[in-house]
């Protein structure tokens, strides 16, 4: 199936005008499959980390939202162990007017503003609520451990 114009255009624009701190590169053999990297927002526990995600555009995109998950281990109340993300625009609040770019921006924002009230990873959310400082420290530690690129 030919790639819909919309996907082509979005990809082109992601390449031409990249969002600061975000990169999304389609696979050569499957243009609906993107390797995504999101830089942890500054003044967040994830600062300095580069988080890898995978993003897949289903056949009925943009009627249906893209499927996206973290590949890099992350300590975040809205991301579960498998990397799945709890974000309304990825679910009920999806609108076909949203795009890859806007979704990735939302995720970046989510990193800056974890929402333990609407958790996906219950244990993480619990520790976040009970002891936010400890949780943030854990998040920082995980970021250091898993997300900071090792010097070559």
């Amino acid at each position: 199936m030919a790639l819909p114009k919309r996907i082509v255009k979005e990809t082109e624009r992601l390449m031409a005008e990249p969002v600061p701190g975000i990169s999304a590169v389609p696979h050569e053999d499957n243009l609906r499959y993107f390797d995504v990297e999101i830089h942890g927002p500054s003044s967040s526990p994830y600062e300095g980390g580069v988080f890898k995600l995978e993003l897949f555009l289903p056949d009925d995109y943009p009627m249906a939202p893209p499927k996206i998950r973290f590949l890099t281990k992350i300590f975040h109340p809205n991301v579960d162990k498998l990397g799945r993300i709890c974000l309304d625009v990825l679910k009920n609040n999806w609108s076909p007017a949203l795009q890859i770019r806007t979704i990735l921006l939302s995720i970046q924002a989510l990193l800056g503003a974890p929402n333990p009230d609407d958790p996906l990873a219950a244990d993480v959310a619990k520790s976040w609520k009970e002891d936010e400082q400890a949780a943030i420290a854990t998040a920082k530690a995980w970021t250091q451990q898993y997300a900071v690129p090792k010097a070559a």
Binding site: P4, K5, R6, K9, E10, D60, P62, M63, A64, N93, S95, P96, A97, L98
Partner: protein
Amino acid sequence: MNVSGIDEPPSKRRRFFADSSDGHLDEPHTEFPVSKSAQDHDNENLPVFSDAPSSPFPARTQLTLPHPSPGPVPGSDPSPREDGTNQTGFDREMFESFVGTSVPSNIMAVLEEHCGNDMNRAVNMYFDGTWKKLKRKALGSRPPATIAASSARAEQTPASASSSRAQTSGLYTIPESRYIGAFGVEGWTTRSGFNLLKHGDRVRIERQKIQVPKPSFGKPGPRVSAAAAKRVDVIVRFTDLAGREIGRLAKETANWVSALMDQKVCKFEGTCVYAPERLRTNDTVFLQLRCSLLRTAFLSRGFEASDNRAAGRFEEAETSEERDLRLRQVALVRLFQEINLFPTRGNAAAAKSQREGLLHAAEMAENKEAEKTKAQSLDNSAAPSSSEENEEGQELEQDQLDALYKKAQSFDFGTPEAEPADTFAFSLRPYQKQALHWMMAKEKDVKDQDREVSMHPLWEEYAWPTKDHDDKPLPEYPDQPVFYVNPYSGELSLEFPRQEQHCLGGILADEMGLGKTIQMLSLIHTHRSDVALEARRAAKPVSTVNQLPRLPIVHGRDGTIDAPCTTLVIAPMSLLAQWQSEVENASHEGTLRTMVYYGTEKNVDLPTICCEANAANAPDVIITSYGVVLSEFTQIASGNGNRGGTRGIFSVNFFRVIMDEAHHIKNRQSKTARACYEIAARHRWVLTGTPIVNRLEDIFSLVRFLRVEPWNNFSYWRTFITVPFESKDYMRALDVVQTVLEPLVMRRTKDMKTPDGTPLVALPPKTVEIVDIELSKEERDVYDYIFKRAKRAFFANVEAGTVMKAFTSIFAQILRLRQSCCHPLLVRNQEVVAEEEEAGALADAAAGLADDMDLQSLIERFTAATDDGADANVFGAHVLSQIRDEALNECPICAEEPMINQTVTGCWHSACKNCILEYIRHQTDKHELPRCWQCRQVINSRDLFEVVRYDDDPDVPTLSQGPRITLQRIGIGSSSAKVVALINHLRELRRENPTIKSVVFSQFTSFLSLIEPALARANIHFLRLDGTMAQKARAAVLNEFRESKKFTVLLLSLKAGGVGLNLTSAKRVYMMDPWWSFAVEAQAIDRVHRMGQEDEVKIYRFIVKNSVEQRMLKVQDRKKFIATSLGMMSDEEKKLQRIEDIKELLS
């Protein structure tokens, strides 16, 4: 089978046997008494007594009769009966001495006829009185041919039957019989006893006497009744030399042997090969029959195109004469099979299979005959309507059609050219000049010198055997080495049967757009009758003599009056105006007088104005329609059939008649076709781009109109073409058709190339694009509903086995299904539709919305409200103007830029129409409320408005803010997907090219009516032409379309506009719905893409995806389902085929 016959079984070896009296010289059975040889003739060997001593057939050539070398021909010096003496064969004196009284010579003749030289039998017959019964029949039934034979022989001069066919003139050299072969047969005995028959005994082969001959004097073909009686019994007896019946031939053989004997084609002489010593009744004996062809066989007047006209306007049934011929034909073929005689020259491939084919054909003919007779009686009583009636014949598969066309198209580019007369205003292309030359030659019947004399396709050449079955040499006749047989009719001939053609016209079958009309007009200009030329030379408008046209006196046959200057053109009604204008354009001022004979203009007296006396003022061309021809014909037919009594078309014998779009009469049984056959004219021409629409019979009708002998006889055609074709002997049938057509047809196609590689006609390219249409949900619902119902009904019928009965209703449902692809309104109850519309309008009034809103006025409304200070309205006005501006933006959903059919929601957010609809569907499928992608308001699918911009419309002034824009509600009240697609295409086109003209075809005029308002709303100028319009109105429409300088659409119904029209001023074609056969669509397309077209033509075919239409395309590809014959199914098998197709449509 080896044709040379070297390995033939001994029993079938050829024998030398010139005739019986020679035979004994070579006869190995010496115990055979020589003295008996004189008696050993059957009646055929005897000189036949001529009732007319002066032969009606004049001696013609002076060739002498070569005597057979081994001995004198017995009976070579017979005397007429009047001389009272007869030296050979039946010995009258001996007979008289037997009966003891003098016998009148006429009685003697009868006896002789029936007993040959069997004196015993003759005596018996004389005494028991059976001769009386025989007498009259025998005299009456004596075929004239036999008389000719006897007199010819008597005078020792060649005789030539006064037949049109000269074949019989070769008769002089053949002895009264000539050996052609021998074969073994079985017989069974009817008596018992010892030593009745032993090996080597000769037996006589005799026919059963006819029991109930009917006297029939003075009528042509009295033999018929006798033959009818004979047909009932086919018993062939064999008797010993004393005349005692020993037995009969096996029925199988007797069937055809009897026919040959009855019709005096052959004589047979038997020799016993094996018989049991003690014979009992019903024992099998084996005989060898030597067969000799009789002279009379060659005399027989065969199939004298006993023609259609004799049968008048009604379909001819097979006459008994034709039945005789068929019997004879079958018998001959069987005989040749038995004696292993193969043609030395023929047209078909394998002689053996061909014979089987022929036998099969005859069989079929017999069955068919029965059916046909039935059909005919129906036909005649239930006066068939003029339209489609049951058609005979199988449809041609596409590849067969291709093969046929290919053969018919072997156009020789070396054909000479002819220059048109100087009164002709156009210049012709080379290929047109060639056609002119050809047509002139046809009309003047100039024999093409280059053409080799070819053997008549139906004949085969056979060599006379030179050795008999015992390898003894036979007497040779050096000038007579071969004979010819027509295995189709059973005719025999000694003279080379040439293919001749006596038709002063033909078929111009050039593909559409090659200028058939122009070529015909050039012929009208260039070949005029002498009378016309004379009148023209006189040049004075009204000569003194002609000032008062006298009552015409020149009568043709049937009481018609010659119209030596006039060409009659018959064309479909829609083409009359076009013909007239083309005639005028093609002629220099005043060189051709035309007249349209139609409607009120019909009020003229054709015989008076066209007669020779009025030659100086007679119209050169009269143009009329098929309808007029039919109605005048019906008038005459319902009257007394007297042509002269009327003053119309049938009262005149035209110089030339031209039938345009001649496939109109492809059904030979339609009244129109029959009417056209009856038009009297010297030259007859047929114009058609598709000589065969789908069956071989289509051509027959043309050939019949052209009066091409003998093909215009349907029985002939059927026997030689239809039947072989239907019995799957395609090659033969097509070969014959080709031979028929080759001299008659000139056909060139557009893609033909001249020898130097340039195309015949350089037409601009054309592209055909299939536009997939996606039905809206509402349309799909309607479609699915009808589809399910049709499918259920169909398969229920299949299960119940009532498909045939329910055929009409099934077909009606398929029709509705197809209509529902075009527009759901076509299949809905109009009242319900009206109510729905009313209800919708009420709801809108409540919501303050309308189906069609002018955006500008909306903005103004909101702006006006702004003055009151309502923020919401400021926002509203802002949004609305944004809608206008946004149109060029990209769609938020599919990223198309600009949006395709920008559509706004009730919350005034824009996207492509399809994106919105798809989104709504997607959400609904997930059982979620569709919410706006921008503001997340719930979208009401009723409140979707398509933004229609009039930037494509040159008539609408552009406003300062940009082009005029309106909002049109989508869904209820809007048009169908197809109409929308059409309008979008047209508007896109208008944007690119504001003056281009297009044609829109649909087969449903009601659909055209639904397209009209959509065009009007889009402010697209349109015209319409359909079958309901009067001729004048049509001409006006066509003229307006041609002259129009602005963007114009012509709505045309496929039926009314599919043929003939010249619409080259248009450049785009939109086919709204597929027809069963693409040929019909192609024809419609060729109205635009034809000679005179200067630009590329683009054709768009709108096909609804996943629908019956898409499957119809597949059916089109196979070209099996042909709608023209759908109305009436004549035969179950064809119906079944269609059922299969419907099954495919509904699968």
